[in-house]
């Protein structure tokens, strides 16, 4: 029997979505085929330190005090891949004779970090540089979709319906937001009375830092909250009678692009903020991490394959999601989010998540051609190996005729 491939799933991270990422990472590990793969949990704590250990698999351990936990081993990723091409971590353990370095080899990294420093192309770029195979989007697609404005401007060129937006940068230190300038900007961007508006950080997912503004005062307050999280903030008209629709997209084995079931997240509050999105039905301040099977994005109350969508709406959602996937050369299981006005029926593409919560497995399991999470991890892993191999193959100097020292 062939040796099992070691799949290092990297989760946690220096991101506001750290906790959700822990769930996504653990779920991926649990859905690995034990006959083929060996999962290696790799946890990045909020300080940016990397750890591994069996204790990471247990949700009850979180939040983990990494420095005090004796069952965890600190890791460093070796960026100078050895000649045999086998990527590895170094682990350091204190012994009687001082610190001892051990090697933990692996075959592929699965980034399961949401938001900054993981979903945004930085980790992907690092891995490509080090010739380490990894799954999901390559740096370009990951970076492009993380910037909401960049995504919108791009998809607009292919005729996909998106909301108009106004982008503001954080005012220089020592200065304040000027209501008059903002007023003028609003007039230039939006027709008529601009309010109500919605304010969100440019480079974050998961609805963190999203706020609604009904007038200039609340707009300034929302802007200040958002600027705490990001340098750039995007202002869009607030969609009345808002209904959201999400769909996941991936490339199947034949190279075609396929879309999953469509979901309509259910919610009570007018606005989907982080707490509503991830803790729906839970007690505020209550434990976020349970041991149950349904958690994170998977436990968010939702209607799958909602029947109110017209054929045109469904076609718009599916075709624009597939277009974005193709246009930005995305990979893995990508979730594309849409906004709709349930009265007028208008639908807009909102954002693209290249590492969605729970890898959006519940959308694939409910798809017209259902795909179990087990099969999804398999496709994500084999695609990762293939994409990385494709790039690694082209980096030999001789193949490009660029040899100088013959």
């Amino acid at each position: 029997m062939a040796k099992k491939k070691v799949i290092a799933v990297v989760f946690g991270g220096r991101s506001v979505e750290h906790d959700v990422s822990v769930l996504t990472g653990l779920q991926f590990l649990e859905a690995l085929d034990p006959g083929k793969y060996e999962g290696l949990p790799v946890y990045i704590d909020p300080l940016g330190q990397w750890w591994t250990g069996d204790a990471l698999a247990n949700r009850k351990q979180y939040p983990i005090d990494t420095s005090a936990n004796k069952n965890l081993t600190q890791l460093t990723l070796d960026l100078a891949t050895p000649a045999n091409g086998q990527p590895r971590f170094f682990a350091f353990q204190k012994g009687l004779m001082g610190e001892k370095r051990t090697e933990i080899t692996f075959d592929l990294i699965v980034p399961a970090i949401h938001g900054s420093n993981g979903e945004d192309g930085t980790l992907q770029g690092l891995l490509e540089f080090a010739s380490i195979p990894f799954s999901g989007c390559r740096p370009l697609g990951a970076a492009a979709t993380m910037d909401k404005v960049f995504t919108k401007r791009n998809v607009r060129t292919s005729g996909i319906n998106v909301l108009p937006e106004l982008v503001l940068s954080r005012p220089p230190q020592g200065t304040f937001l000027n209501p008059e300038t903002i007023e003028a900007n609003l007039k230039a961007t939006f027709d008529g009375d601009p309010y109500p508006l919605i304010v969100k950080p440019c480079n974050l997912g998961s609805s963190v830092g999203v706020g609604k503004a009904d007038n200039m005062d609340s707009l300034i307050a929302a802007l200040m909250a958002a600027f705490r999280l990001d340098y750039e903030v995007i202002i869009e008209p607030f969609v009345t009678n808002l209904t959201e629709y999400n769909v996941a997209v991936r490339r199947d084995a034949d190279g075609g692009i396929v879309s999953s079931a469509i979901e309509r997240p259910l919610r009570n509050a007018e606005l989907l903020d982080f707490k509503n999105k991830y803790l729906a039905g839970g007690i505020p301040g209550g434990p976020k991490l349970d041991t149950g099977p349904s958690e994170g994005m998977a436990s968010l109350n939702r209607t799958l394959n909602p029947d109110e969508l017209s054929n045109e709406q469904e076609h718009f959602i599916r075709s624009s999601a597939e277009t974005v996937f193709d246009m930005l050369s995305l990979a893995g299981s990508v979730r594309v989010d849409f906004l709709a006005n349930s009265e007028t029926g208008e639908v807009w593409l909102n954002e693209v998540n290249t590492i969605p919560g729970s890898f959006a497995y519940f959308l694939w399991e409910a798809a017209a051609k259902p795909l179990s999470f087990l099969a999804l991890t398999e496709t994500i892993i084999s695609e990762g190996f293939e994409l990385s191999a494709r790039r690694l193959g082209a980096t030999d100097t001789k193949s490009g005729g660029a040899t100088i020292f013959a």
Binding site: E30, A31, L32, D33, P34, G35, D54, A57, N58, T291, G292, P293, P370, S372, F373, L374, T377
Partner: protein
């Protein structure tokens, strides 16, 4: 003989292949919902409530696993071979069925299967023996002097399963004291044994001994899972192992 009543069940999926799911003690058919959902495309899944659990009426008081298996065989009247998946107590019934009615069973899959006595330390045995004596004394005292020591004893030392067993207490006691080693030896069908490394109720050691006893068997340990979350968190890993096992069974 017991009256022939239908066991309550949920049926999902369709197809010729038949998967019979037998839940563990204290569970009901719902315990398998998550994992059985992963087999909908593969065949017809019948998730039973075992007698005395969920919505299925009890067998006569004190019924043992063999009687459960006899009653189950009546449910499977079609005489075609089924794949039986049992968790914990359900695995005991699966073992009994496979040895008594080989023609009804294509393969059995025991998830955290019980049925073999645990290996215990001397210290544990001494403690268990002392407690047993104490329990007997309490009962004698109660009958002689109208005391209520027995209730206090159960409240203090009884397991939660024992306390919650109600009219099924006799069935539970017979299960706890039973040793299926001899029965397991008679099993001819292919058997898959799945155990979580963190299982303290039915540790992997039991699975390893089953592997020795059953002629055609495959034992796999699932790292990081316990007696219960192997069915939820571990659903996909079980799915993978069960499917590759059944594929091998087909190809043999």
């Amino acid at each position: 003989m017991t009256q022939h009543s239908n066991w309550h069940s949920d049926i999902s999926g369709s197809g010729d292949a038949s998967y019979i799911w037998l839940h563990g003690w204290g569970y009901n058919r719902k315990g398998f919902e998550r994992i059985a959902a992963l087999f909908q495309k593969d065949g017809t899944n019948t998730l039973y409530d075992l007698p005395g659990f969920g919505d299925t009426p009890m067998l006569p008081e004190g019924a043992n696993t063999e009687e459960y298996a006899v009653a189950l065989a009546e449910q499977l009247s079609d005489n075609k071979p089924h794949v039986i998946i049992g968790h914990s107590y359900g695995a005991r019934v699966a073992v009994q069925l496979a040895s008594k009615y080989p023609q009804k069973v294509k393969a059995i899959i025991l998830i955290s299967g019980a049925g073999l006595p645990r290996r215990r330390s001397i210290a544990f045995k001494i403690k268990a023996f002392s407690l047993k004596v104490l329990g007997r004394l309490a009962r004698i005292s109660d009958s002689l002097f109208c005391t209520t020591y027995r209730d206090a004893y159960i409240a203090r030392f009884g397991s939660s399963d024992y306390k919650n067993a109600g009219p099924l207490r006799g069935t539970l006691i017979s299960a706890v004291n039973e040793n299926l080693a001899g029965t397991a030896r008679q099993i001819k069908c292919p058997t898959l044994l799945l155990y979580g490394t963190n299982d303290v109720d039915t540790p992997p050691e039991i699975g390893r001994r089953y592997e020795q006893l059953i002629a055609v068997s495959r034992f796999t340990e699932l790292k990081g899972y316990d007696h219960h979350d192997i069915l939820t968190r571990g659903a996909y890993q079980c799915e993978a192992l069960i499917k590759s096992f059944l594929k091998d069974v087909e190809n043999d």
